[in-house]
Subunit: 414 residues, 2 copies
């Protein structure tokens, strides 16, 4: 089965937004085993859209369009496709009612132009839009299918997930089940090397590694006809990957590292405090990104200057001058000061050189010491991170979280 | 003049990456006054690529391809285009030498397959690639032009900027000069309303507003034949926008709010301290993102729990229980405590409800108090931010920076 994706919108051709919808849909179609041979973007122009649609229908089984379902005159996807496929547009009273309610809930009145959105091609399947006013629709014509979705990803994605994915699954007779293994402490190329034989020999499940912002993810996806079958296919592969990577695998369901640490802290009745130098508050910011983090986090210190390390965390001037602010000794004194000051059951201290300036041959940019305690266990680790300032700071936050995770799990070293 | 962008690569059709190249190129082409009517993505398939190229050459003056210039058999853009346009591929000894040097510099030997990259269509203009092994090229054929660029943005963008942009500028005879006005304290729709008459009546310079992550940007772009002419066109429009928006415009050259505040602090010999509750360290993290921030920032406190507000910043239990942690009174006591503790010449305190939980009818999610001082001037502001937790925290950081900026500039209210 082949598909192509046809995005409609002059804003795409002006570069005001990237065509992320095509990427999103392509990933999901690939998982369904549907081949995508073309992406096309056209502007809000009926002639070019009609011509492109005809060509797409000639060469592909399924055409998915995004965009052009809005209320204005520029929005002409539905009108052009209906005309091309010789279908009337008919008013759906229930959709009109939904649109009116959508505005009423937001204490606004529906503008007359929005009525246009309640018209759909005759004999089409409605795709409800819980997050906006434009419903989508599916037209079947012989062995060809046209699926129309709106442009905003926040509307398009839920509609695809809630209606279209199942529709296509029924068409292909396939279900897909994935595990998202998230991994820290190993680069993407090293990971690929360790899993190469599995990646190359596996066809079902497939194993797809990818890296983003210092974290590596491996998606293991089984294609089959039932959930039981999928689980049976996935389990041995996940076990094999876990046995090769050990403690480096921190979640199986795509959870972020801060979520994993938040849950571990909560389950163990721990409260964590932070002391940050080079990360400048980013670690605390990351922990408090999680709703409910006040259960496990009470306070943090950003001790950027030596004076602050001394006054707020009792790091001695002697240590600072003898070993320097970026040293194991300073990290451990920051940690001790933090424990004394807060009485928290867990703590983490970070000091390092984020760059671009400040590096020396002995202490290069990227050198970071991370010290952590959980009750009476203490661990201090030394890292040399690569990359720019942002990357070093991000990696330092991730490994600070990971150090706490290792302490709680009682696995202090790999 | 019309152009279309043709991206080649199966990884795009699998959704492994988004077609950000098309977006990038579209923005630059729009600035040159070149109309883009189509983006197309095809896989690594000679038949589909050849057919798509022919169609593109039929309907557009310029076709820009990205991708498919690598050394492997899958990379067939150059080969397919040369065949379609009846050109021989000829070996360029100097390019081969460059490729060998590229590897030598990295202490590696050139693989035999890379030799393929030194072949280019006869009578084409070479586009040097300082960041990789694949050069690009330009083929002119009558009034049609094909421009081939590699896929990786880190190679493609410099090649476009250093060679192709000027080539196209000579073709169109146009230069473009932009000012990026960055604005805080007004939403995009309100901004558009205030500038509507300018946006609609202006053709040169053009005025393009857009919004991202709580900040609004207006790009004013003049098209003309000299820099002097451009400046003369831009100045009155920028002045008019500034006169309508006043203090809300914080930069003209695209600088971020933290950079603007960092420069203001530095110029005025100020050092700032932070006290954060709902933003949990993100404000300090943002300030310390700037290399050299240690000149203006020594320390910050993340006082997430009431106990921390009391112990670290001397907020009284009476205030906390009488007015609540999210109140003007608590914000001001946090600020006073911060000043006493640090002796810093500037400070900012934030307390609010980031959500999703914790809101009440009197104190809804999104309610944030921001207090700041600069020397002896103090300002406390109340905000009700919209959106999810991330958005509220981000907006709180931005307005905390803006409050400091207003104090330093001596413009406490709009």
């Amino acid at each position: 089965m082949t598909a192509e994706i046809l995005a409609v919108g002059t804003e795409l051709l002006l570069g005001q937004i990237a065509n992320t919808n095509a990427q999103y849909l392509s990933v999901r179609l690939a998982e369904l085993g549907i081949n995508v041979y073309f992406h096309t973007v056209v502007g809000d122009n009926a002639a070019r859209l009609g011509e492109t649609l005809k060509r797409a229908l000639n060469r592909s089984d399924i055409v998915i369009t995004t965009g052009g379902l809005g209320p204005t005159q520029d929005d002409l996807t539905k009108e052009t496709i209906s005309k091309t496929m010789n279908r009337e547009l008919v008013l759906h009273e229930d959709i009109l009612e939904n649109i009116r309610n959508f505005f009423a809930k937001r204490h606004r009145t529906m503008a007359e132009i929005n009525k246009k959105q309640a018209y759909l091609p005759e004999n089409s399947i409605v795709i409800p839009n819980p997050n906006g006013t434009a419903p989508g629709c599916i037209i079947e014509e012989g062995d060809k299918t046209v699926i129309m979705l709106p442009g905003p990803p926040k509307e398009m994605q839920p509609m695809f997930e809630e209606t279209v994915f199942d529709y296509l699954k029924r068409k292909t007779g396939v279900i897909l089940v994935s595990k998202m293994l998230k991994i820290i402490g190993i680069g993407e190329s090293e990971l690929v090397t360790r899993l190469m034989d599995l990646i190359e020999s596996q066809d079902n499940p497939t194993i797809a590694p990818y890296a983003a912002q210092g974290e590596v993810t491996v998606r293991v996806t089984a294609r089959c006809s039932s959930h039981e079958e999928a689980e049976a296919l996935l389990a041995p592969v996940v076990d094999e990957i876990r046995s090769r990577l050990g403690i480096m695998v921190y979640s199986e369901n795509g959870q972020s590292l801060e979520e994993v640490v938040y849950n571990l802290l909560k389950e163990n009745g721990l409260v964590i405090a932070t002391a940050e130098s080079c990360t400048g508050g980013l670690l605390a910011g990351r922990i408090t990104n999680i709703p409910g983090s006040s259960e496990v986090f009470e306070r943090g210190y950003v001790t950027y200057a030596n004076k602050a390390k001394n006054e707020d965390l009792c790091v001695s001037w002697e240590t600072l001058s003898k070993y320097g602010a970026v040293s194991r000794e300073t990290a451990l004194e920051m940690l001790n000061g933090l424990r004394k000051k807060t009485g928290a059951s867990a703590g983490v201290a970070i000091t390092g050189i984020a760059g671009p300036g400040g590096g020396t041959p002995e202490k290069p940019v990227g050198l970071v010491f991370i010290a952590a305690y959980v009750n009476d266990k203490v661990l201090c680790r030394r890292f040399e991170f690569m990359g720019n300032r942002e990357r070093v700071r991000n990696d330092a936050c991730l490994h600070a979280l990971d150090t706490v995770r290792r302490l709680i799990l009682g696995v202090e070293q790999q």
